[in-house]
């Protein structure tokens, strides 16, 4: 449990979506929605006034879009963590948001547990990649200016690398187990260990890590 509440400002031009998000977040222990905005300019003003820990914002908004407002917010308050909210098929916009300094992104229909997970992750200064990240987006992230920093201290053995490759090819735990003659349980254990080692929250993080460290090639996943 966190010691103090995480203060959150949310922004979206769909008023009812904002209502839903505010209600959902306010029901989560440890979270406090301290401000809401319906466009990028009000978002900047609200953030300047409220100084939240985390900003959860839509990308396409009137007046000033999420990308511009993220840049402006981070220029003044570099410690604030921004999460981008997107609809499907907005890969380019997500990349622009990450390049503008957002620490993570979520699809708008993400489950509440994923939304809370993402907020806690970025609050702890970790990147968060939505679990529904496509392979295409993962490879775009690796190629982009927002490409994550490689932690050199992570050492993986051959078997772990092999399992990572298979995970990236979207093979199920059972399929992996059958191929490398291990029990399903053992493979599950490996999965958990791999996620822990590379501090990834989900497969998206694994794919990005693997691409970045040349464990897999782009053509293997695309």
């Amino acid at each position: 449990m966190l010691m103090t509440d995480i203060n959150i400002v949310i922004a979206d031009d769909h008023e009812i979506f904002l209502d839903g998000l505010a209600l959902m977040l306010s029901r989560q222990p440890g979270f406090k929605v301290t401000g809401r905005a319906s466009n990028g300019q009000t978002l900047i003003d609200t953030v300047n006034r409220e100084r939240p820990d985390v900003v959860v914002t839509d990308i396409r908004m009137p007046v000033v879009d999420g990308i511009q407002s993220t840049k402006q917010i981070l220029a003044v308050h570099p410690d604030i963590k921004v999460i981008a909210l997107s609809m499907f098929d907005e890969e380019n916009l997500i990349i622009e948001m990450l390049e503008a300094g957002a620490k993570g992104y979520l699809l708008k229909n993400a489950h509440k547990d994923e939304i809370t997970d993402a907020i806690i992750s970025v609050y702890q200064n970790k990147n968060y990649y939505c679990s529904q990240t496509s392979c295409l987006l993962a490879s775009m992230i690796v190629r982009s200016k927002a490409s994550p920093f490689i932690q050199p201290q992570i050492v993986l053995n051959e078997r772990e690398k092999l399992i990572i490759q298979m995970i990236c090819q979207q093979q199920t735990t059972q399929e992996i187990a059958d191929k490398i003659y291990l029990s399903k349980r053992t493979v599950e254990g490996y999965r958990v260990k791999i996620l822990e080692k590379i501090q990834a929250k989900n497969i998206a993080g694994v794919v990005i890590f693997a691409l970045k460290n040349n464990i897999i090639k782009e053509e293997d996943v695309l």
């Binding site: 979506f17 029901r27 609809m87 499907f88 708008k108 489950h111 509440k112």
Partner: protein, 247 residues
Amino acid sequence: MQDKLFYTVVIISILIAVVIIFFVVSVIRYHKRYMQLQKERIQAQIMIQEEERKRIANDLHDSLGPMLSTVKLFMNSIAVDNDTDQESLDKASGYIDETINNLREISYNLLPSSLDRNNLEMVVNEYISRMGNRQPIKITFSVTKDTVIPKKIEIHLFRIIQEIVHNTIKHSGARNLKLSITRHPGELLLISEDDGRGFEPDKIRAASGGLGLKSIENRCQMLDADLKIIAAKNQGCKMIIKVPVYG
């Protein structure tokens, strides 16, 4: 007397010739105008169709999508202490995800990844990775580095590529299809090459079908592009489309 007759014949001949020339010229001009109108009509049709598709795709993406996400958020906010109720909520929330996925599929079919939001290279890559998953054909696509494709022509190039891929899968039996866009001074070259069973373009055109080819030709006409098809029986098919780019 004979002179007079001669002149009369000459004058009448000239008159007849003038009338014939006038007639022929009119027919040619009429035909030209007809062709021009035909071209404009096709262009208008294509434009209207694309505009309509775009509008519907954007509505699905911008209004219905967020609305469904909102419903999910509200459902997620309901606190229940009964397992059966929780199960029902989870189920309903799963159906919303499914609906959003369907919405995405419909919107994609109308206007892939909404070209508004993404560039052609990405959209084509996504398209072929989708097609490649379902078909036993290897499709590759490349764009030379730093190629700027004018936004205005992206949709037409995409539809041409879509048609080529569709035709290749449906008719050619090819195992490989190579697509590329390269930049040259004043023009873009879209080249497709497959190793399928090939065809004879004239026969396809003459046959009742050939709608796919026709639609490629229509798009090329819109772009003032030059379309060259090199195909013969059992020798695969190569298409070279030269698109002029201004400015």
